[in-house]
Amino acid sequence: MLAYVIRRVAQGALVLAIVGFVSFSMFRFMGDPLENILGQEATVLDRQELEDRLGINKPVLVQYFKFMAGALQGEFGVSYRNAIPVAEVIAERLPATLELALVSGIFAALFGIALGVYTAIRRDGFLANFIMTTSLIGVSLPTFLIGILLIWVFAVELGWLPSFGRGETGTMFGRPSSLTSWSGIRALILPSVTLGLYQMTLIMRLVRSEMLEVLRTDYIRFAHARGLSSRAIHFRHALTNTLIPVITIIGLQVGQIIAFAVVTETVFQWPGVGSLFIQAVQFVDIPVMAAYLLLVGSLFVVINLIVDLLYLVIDPRLRVERGAGAH
């Protein structure tokens, strides 16, 4: 089992090394970093001096390792746009994104699983069919449209919820957070729903089809034949067996939420790394873009790893055989 864990960690590190190389390459292939920093009127001497200082004239591999070593310590250089260290810019923006992603992830997972189970158990019910049909809309509408529709209905027409910003923020774990005030929580609702709706729908459809599959298995039939209550059968027996194969996908969906946050943050003017990235793209602020890419990549890898390790905890078949195996 330890070997398995080590192998998975090594695979994750390899993926990050590749993502790191891609972000590193941006420096070389997107625009001229010297020009970006010095402006067009710089002399050849200025350029050489800066080349030395930045190490750009060293072999590519050396530069790459230097870049990765810096990245590991949170060093991404200085933002081209406002000359603040990238790490600082990200640190300022990241909590807002994590908070939004966390809330939408929880929303997507909880509602996705609950609705998936409901629509599977009440397979031919009116409400279940209704949910399934409407969920198609959730999958097919683009995020920005959903965001705008939600703003229109709940912010403009009904005036129940704010349409942009984080509301009042207090501090939680030493960072600004919307979860500390009522106005902040209200501000979170629309962007979280917008961000999580697509994933929620996918999770729901996945859970439903997997659950239907499980409900047809022999052990469920046998559980009925033993006279267990429907409740015990659905939740104790069917749900756990349903969730095992879908955990990976739920984990990856929740991971994607951070990447998808770009659009939602823009629509709701949410001050997170997603809108930071869009600004960085507009200004060709390569250090910020590179840092963002690595950050999202790392989050993916970490989520993946957690999901894999979760399997070890949940699925007895993957754990080491007990001593007394009577085969």
Binding site: Y219, P316, G325
Partner: protein
């Protein structure tokens, strides 16, 4: 429940199961009647598709929709159970009627320790505490012959061999001490070497508790060795029912005769594909069951009457056969 020993333990009367399909109404069970006494093992035999499993499922109220009991009655210990609501049926299942399915590999929840599955079954039917249920679970495992049961009670299904898993399944079916057990091909999926052990375990447990058993099987060898009486099903109808010895040695229905003739001798048993198909032709599908006796197109004794009328049950020696050959009035 009443303790009316004058009644048979299980009484099935004119049971009809219907499945509405787009191509027409199917009757996989079509007017089947039989009794099972306490402590008796009734074998149910017939070709694939004869309606054996559906009969069992109908008795415990576990027909998959859209199948449903269209008519007939099922009585357990003098109490009618076919018209119970879901909750009533749930209480019958496991508590009054235990069920064992064919495949022990897939009958157990892979994610729950077997002890938990046993305990939950005991707890749902007997008002006992968790600790008592666990004790019972352990006792049940010991009873079905799981070695080192105390150490293995928290093991998962995949940690057991096929034969051991079927023992666990038997423990699960019997833990609430049902009066009646339906075993649907309990050994078909097992190694030949463990089949006999499992059957004798089932037999001894049921004899000990005076439990009635309905043992569904393809295997005439199992019938001959394990059962007291045997019911032969053909195309959803009962062809013959009677004491095992009589049916095996002097079958009354031409179909049973073919079946017994087709029974492989021990030397042929190794060839697993050898089944019941040595009677010319094959059992009709449910959509084209012929008029009259369903067996008549394959029957060597076929008469005009067989093509037009469905035979009822006539005494044939010690058994009863649904065949006009035994209609005493017509013969005289």
């Amino acid at each position: 429940m009443s303790d009316n020993t004058a009644q048979p333990l299980l009484r099935v009367r004119d049971l009809v199961v219907e499945i509405p399909t787009r191509r027409g109404l199917l009757r996989p069970v079509n007017g089947v009647s039989f009794d099972v006494e306490r402590g008796e093992i009734l074998g149910v035999v017939g070709e694939s598709g004869a309606g054996k499993s559906i009969t069992g499922a109908a008795i415990i109220g576990l027909l998959d929709s859209p199948s449903r009991i269209a008519s007939g009655e099922v009585w357990l210990d003098g109490e009618r159970i076919d018209n119970l609501d879901n909750e009533g049926l749930r209480k019958v299942r496991g508590r009054q009627i235990g069920t064992i399915f064919q495949d022990p590999l897939t009958s157990l929840n892979p994610l729950l320790p077997i002890g938990d599955q046993l305990a939950e079954t005991a707890m749902v039917h007997l008002s006992i505490s968790r600790a008592e249920a666990r004790e019972r679970a352990l006792a049940a495992l010991v009873e079905v012959g799981i070695p080192a049961a105390a150490q293995r009670i928290d093991a998962y299904a995949h940690e057991f061999s096929g034969g051991m898993r079927q023992r666990v399944v038997i423990a699960l079916a019997l833990i609430a001490e049902p009066r009646f057990v339906i075993a649907d091909e309990p050994t078909t999926a097992l190694d030949v070497s463990v089949q006999a052990q499992i059957l004798s375990l089932l037999r001894s447990l049921c004899v000990k508790r005076n439990t009635g058993v309905m043992l569904i099987t393809h295997d005439m060898g199992v019938i001959a060795e394990t059962t007291d009486r045997v019911a032969v099903l053909y195309a959803g109808r009962l062809a013959e029912i009677g004491p095992t010895r009589d049916v095996v040695e002097s079958p009354g229905h031409p179909y049973s005769r073919g079946l017994m003739a087709a029974t492989p001798s021990p030397s042929e048993l190794a060839d697993k594909d050898l089944r019941l198909n040595q009677i010319p032709g094959s059992m009709p599908g449910l959509l084209d069951v012929p008029a009259g006796c369903a067996f008549h197109p394959r029957c060597e004794f076929v008469k005009d009457r067989c093509r037009n009328a469905v035979p009822t049950s006539y005494p044939s020696g010690n058994s009863h056969s649904a065949c006009f050959l035994h209609d005493a009035e017509a013969l005289s």
